[in-house]
Amino acid sequence: MAEKTYLQAISDGIRGEMRRDKRVFVLGEDVGVYGGAFKVTQGFQEEFGAWRVIDMPLSETAIMGGATGSAIMGMRPVAEMQFADFVSCAWDHLVTVAAKQRWRTGTPIPIVLRLPSGGGFSGGPFHSQNPESSFAHIPGLKCVCPATPEDAKGLMIAAIEDPNPVLFFEHKHLYRRIKGEVPDERYVTPIGKARVHAEGEDVTLVTWGAMVYTAEEAAKQLPDVSVEIVDLRTVMPWDKQAVLDSVRKTSKVLVLHEDTRTGGFGGEIAATIAEEAFEDLDAPVRRIAAPDCPVPFAPVLEKAYIPQVDDVVRGLKELSEY
């Protein structure tokens, strides 16, 4: 057990699997000589060589195509998009080929696609997005969004082990800011299992990624309201049972995500609660999410755009007083 940053935990997870399994390799822009734009793969090329840590041309299409082909041929690629935003260039290989492969032919296609996502640093519309909902909607793809260093390592290992394409959304805002105890040994955090970040009685707050910390801060500011924070950890497949169990306890729910509101995954969660726990609700299900527009550059606008602690405090208060 040692205290590690979120970034270090991801790096450790990949490195451990590369040492363990020769089929695992990384590819992406600047992942080799430069060690990755955020230094997740720093030192990898020295340890594993240029054939297992491949610097790719500036083409997400090529990266995803290479990952798809090598996975079909039995390798276990861990591909990096320098920013999650650029995954749109990889859409065809990812959605048309990789997502369908296992269902079409029954053969495994074990791809991990690393997607540094999220805003909060004035990155603007091309470097700040959280596109997990778009891919959660594609059958055949799994989407994980860890919030803690421990989960980041455990879910990375689970993603590499998984025979399906797994999109690994790593939140940039957490990279060096969040530290936590991470077991040294190899362990797997199961895909599709939520984690109760904080137990509570009055309101259930369902969220994932960096918003877990926004939720935590907001809950701290309301000592009179007992908030149960459910960290989904995996958006697809998502842990419906954990959410419904918590809803049955508190009867009030706030769904919080950094992605935009309409068509965001929070809508799916709210709809499921309405369908399956209607008779347990004591208030309307509430959503807090970004407005339906691209992420702005200007700091003051970005702050207005990304859900802030104050917004969550207000939402929790309204629900608890309802």
Binding site: L7, F38, G120, F121, S122, G123, H127, K172, H173, Y175, R176, R177, A210, Y213, T214, E217, Q221, S251, F278, E279, D280, L281, D282, A283, P299, V300, E302, K303, I306, Q308, V309, D310, V313, R314, K317, E321, Y322
Partner: protein, 452 residues
């Protein structure tokens, strides 16, 4: 807070993964006047060195972090407040970006400029604990409150509400129930379901669907109350217990021989027939004493064991018209004669419709005997809340491998009966049930002439 309009200058976020920065130089000092966007200080991070512009115009009232110090992103470095800034509160907003962790501790200025925001704790919604009369059903009843109210037979309008506009919240109705304030007619919610639960509640729950008109070739007859009761009970039992059936073959030759001898004596002296069922019931009552779980019950979160054996016997009333299970109480105290008389008594009274409610209540185990028609196996349904039911089947002569007096195998003609135990696997394990059947078989196969 000295000045309500003070604007905080915080360590800005200078890159995606930068979490701290070092102050290299202050361009202004406390007391200096500064314009918005004029350079206030210079900082250094592990990615860039840069100047930080002032977020507002005004007089610098405080400098909180000295040159050379390294602090986390979001830390307040200085405050700008005073005449120049006071005139333009709107400018308070364009601060450098603050990370989520920085929270609202120093947000009074920003909040004021937002106008609507600031969920002022001083003026909460009208939360007056509205008297019941004020919320007389007009208030919205949420789904969970509606469900709890229905389950407990409560009119939500009677519950004092503390939610928005006097709305009854889930907590309100739960507190109301916990306080015992509800009206009398509601059923006791928590009590363990007594043996005779089915009547009113169950029938309300399964209000029968309308059958419509008979189709060609069909005819209707009304369903009797008994049939409906049986239907509800059978369904409820299958929904409650984890039914498993084990069967065993019993060589009844000794019982056949002994019964043959006793038959005349019993009939002449006591007017009762020593049936095979009486032998089996006698052996069962004995065996149950060694296997208390088979004679037990699950009640709520407790396992119930009983010092008595109340044996129920399934009795058919009239050609397919129903079934009733009268109980022979304290069967463990009866000898073979007593058992035979007890069974004959309840069976007769069942057919004559002379049973009292007490005769059908309180069973701890049941025996059903469908073997009279030649069936050799079955999987009966447990009578709730018991956990076991014994089935006895046709007694048939079969070629049977036995050992002769020299210990050699031989084939003999023996009277064999299949006996089943259907048990609730929630309480009774398979091996336990198997040992029960083994011991029961042993008792029947080794029945002695002097046993009674």
């Amino acid at each position: 807070m000295a000045t309500g309009t003070a604007v905080d200058v915080v360590m800005p976020q200078m890159g995606v993964s930068v979490s701290e920065g070092t102050i290299t130089k202050w361009s202004k000092q406390v007391g200096d006047t500064i314009e918005a966007d004029e350079t206030l200080l210079e900082i250094s991070t592990d990615k860039v060195d840069t100047e930080v512009p002032s977020p507002a115009a005004g007089v610098i009232s405080e400098i909180l972090v000295a040159e050379g110090e390294t602090v986390a992103v979001g830390t307040v470095l200085a405050r700008i407040g005073g005449e120049a800034g006071a005139a333009a509160p709107a400018e308070a907003a364009p601060q450098p970006p603050e990370p989520a962790t920085q929270a609202a501790a120093d947000e009074s200025a920003a909040a004021a400029s937002e106008g609507q925001a600031a969920p002022a704790p001083a003026a909460p919604a009208p939360v007056a604990p509205a008297a019941p009369s004020e919320s007389n059903g007009k208030s919205f009843v949420s789904p969970v409150v509606a469900r709890i109210a229905a389950e407990h037979g409560i009119d939500p309008a009677q519950v004092p509400g503390t939610g928005n506009g006097g709305r009854v919240t889930k907590k309100d109705i739960q507190a109301f129930i916990d306080s015992g304030a509800q009206a009398a007619p509601a059923p006791p919610a928590a009590a363990p379901p007594p043996a005779a639960a089915p009547p009113a509640a169950a029938q309300v729950a399964h209000a029968p669907a309308d059958a419509g008109e008979p189709q060609q070739g069909e005819s209707f007859e009304p369903m009797s109350a008994m049939r409906r009761g049986i239907a509800d009970h059978m369904r409820r039992s299958l929904d409650t217990s984890a039914h498993v059936t084990s069967a065993i073959e019993v060589d009844m030759s000794k019982v056949v021989a002994i019964r043959q001898k006793l038959k005349k004596e019993y009939n002449a002296a006591y007017g009762v027939n020593p049936t095979y069922l009486a032998f089996i019931a006698r052996a069962t009552a004995e065996t149950l004493r060694d296997y208390p779980y088979v004679n037990g019950e699950i009640r709520g979160d407790k396992i119930v064991s009983k010092s008595f054996v109340n044996l129920g016997f399934a009795v058919e009333l009239a050609d397919g018209k129903g079934l009733i299970v009268p109980v022979v109480k304290n069967a463990e105290t009866l000898n073979l004669l007593g058992m035979a008389k007890g069974i004959a008594d309840v069976a007769k009274r069942a057919r004559d419709k002379q049973l009292t409610p007490d005769d059908v209540a309180g069973g701890s185990f049941t025996i059903t005997n469908p073997g009279g028609y030649g069936t050799f196996h079955g999987t009966p349904v447990i009578s709730q809340p018991q956990v076991g039911i014994l089935g006895t089947y046709a007694l048939v002569k079969r070629p049977w491998v036995i050992q002769d007096e020299n210990g050699a195998d031989a084939i003999a003609i023996r009277s064999i009966m299949n006996i089943t135990l259907t048990y609730d696997h929630r309480l009774v394990d398979g091996a336990y049930a198997g040992r029960f059947l083994r011991d029961l078989r042993e008792r029947l196969q080794t029945w002695g002439e002097s046993d009674y």
